[in-house]
Amino acid sequence: MPDSQSVRQALEKKGAYGKDLDLDHYDVEAKETVEIDDLQKSDYKRYMENVGIVADEIGRSGTLMFIDNNPSHCSPKVQEGLEVMTTQQALKKYDGLKDHFWKAMDPTKDKYTAKTYLEDGNGYFVRVKSGYHIKYPLQTCMLLNTEKSTQNVHNIVIVEDNASLEMLTGCSTAHHTNDALHVGVSEIYVGDNSSLTFSMIHSWGKDTGVRPRTSTVVGKNSHYTNNYVILNPVGSLQSFPVATLGDDSSATYNTMCIAHENSDIDTGGMVNLNGRRSRAEIMSRSISMGGKMVARGRMVGNAPEAKGHLECRSIILKDGGTTLAIPELEAHIADVEMTHEAAVGKIARDQIEYIMSRGLSEDDAVSMIVKGFLSGGNINGLPAELQKELDEAIAKANVGD
């Protein structure tokens, strides 16, 4: 691990992408612990449910919830094969988590990781033991509850060999919180012959700063899916998860965003195709309602027979914003096959009019097409659970005016 001197220096280091946020702006400390025993009776329930976290936990393997920087609720419901606790507890139990603590992520990456490191950010620790396939999704929830504060969470997810897990993570502001900063460092480890689906739904305030930092290391013959959804206004969000794949492994990224007026969103992701025959698919669908939308995708082919496809599609519904699609393919050897597609523009008039010819208004026709575009018809690998949450979120999303 780097010495704390170099991490302290990294506090000055801007992120590689997105607007630079002033950490000193968030000068309120959010130390309080809010304990929630019964999710159903909690007054945080509606914030959770808004981002797909179900309070009755039906069809879930458990729930772990953080409000600001402290754990609020932990209810693992699976006894065998699944461990759920806080990162601090895991550090104690596993003697500092030598193989997993700040191993996938470099704390000096930028000021946000550095801050999380220096603040000793707590978070969730999830481990699926070798040989276990967890049937129901595990849900985690991160709420930002204090104005002008920073949430610095550090999560660690380990899916060992021959194991599988689905995670649903909902992040949101609660009550009147708006101008605050969420930083979430997630280090994810997927072993051999395993799979992890990691789905995030976010809902923030119109001035909230959001800087997730996710890094995933995938072993051999495994699959990793990363789904990211943000449909509500946000201040400034920048996220660029990175996955590194071993032999015969694959990764799928699906990103769905709406950039409302005054929202500044910079999302996407990167896959390092480091294993032989590793494969990746990065899909981004976004709508600009007058905000700033940058959709990135990057794939690096480092091993023979690696394959990947990258797709950025963006519909612009309103003038005044910026939409930038940046698909990047990088190869270091000849025997790779990588392709990309990018399309930015308005909805084809004939499609709108076709729907109008069935008696729907122009606004309803546009909204129907946009919602269909976001839910993607049939995006591969979207878990049924998320599809349902997503359909509901999209149905609620305000895309007309």
Binding site: A348, R349, D350, Q351, E353, Y354, I355, M356, S357, R358, G359, L360, S361, E362, D364, A365, M368, I369, K371, G372, F373, L374, S375, G376, G377, N378
Partner: protein, 240 residues
Amino acid sequence: MTDMLKIADLHVEAGGREILKGVDLTIKEGETAVLFGPNGSGKSTLLASIMGYSTMTVTQGTITFMGTDITELPVDERAKLGIGMMMQRPPNIFGVKLGDLIKASSDNGEAVIQEAQDFKMQNFIDREINVGFSGGEIKRSELLQLTAQRPEFILLDEPESGVDLENIDLIGQKVHDLLFREAENGKRHVSSLVITHTGQIMDYIDADCGYVMKKGHIVKSGRPDGILKDIRENGYGEEE
């Protein structure tokens, strides 16, 4: 009988050139008209202009529907007045399921979806509209949508073209049902304008009159079977 549709001296441009060059056509309540004409003569353009597709620019003339001048109305308002159309080549609507559009377009939608099997469309309700549909599937999908919509005036652009012999009877029957909706003692009140090349659909629709379009003009009108017979025997006349 009152006039359902009255088109007067209609000139239409598409892609920067004039396609319809002064069309006059009147269709009365309960009347079914068939429209013949060589490829590229402007038949689909006429239907798209009646529906109000914005690729078609009316430069002169008027379209009146049930007494209302609709020449400048947007597509949805025409649909709400009771006009419905089966397109020759409808666009792919990515991400939107056929069933969702049917439900949204009519309070009758759920019930019609239950009948999808009669259209051999039960496996298409959850598919994206027109995406990957075969020629015959597109026709059946359009008819299912029109059945939910229940238009008073129906524009059908080559309903039987590309349909195999087995399905032609299904298509014909469904077209018949649309045109004879709420008919009393065989007396229709739904009107329609139907484009056909082969005339096969005429076995199902009891057409009242026929027209021939050439180079953007209606050049002939008369009894539909007489016109078809004449085209079969003599073609459309001199080529350009």
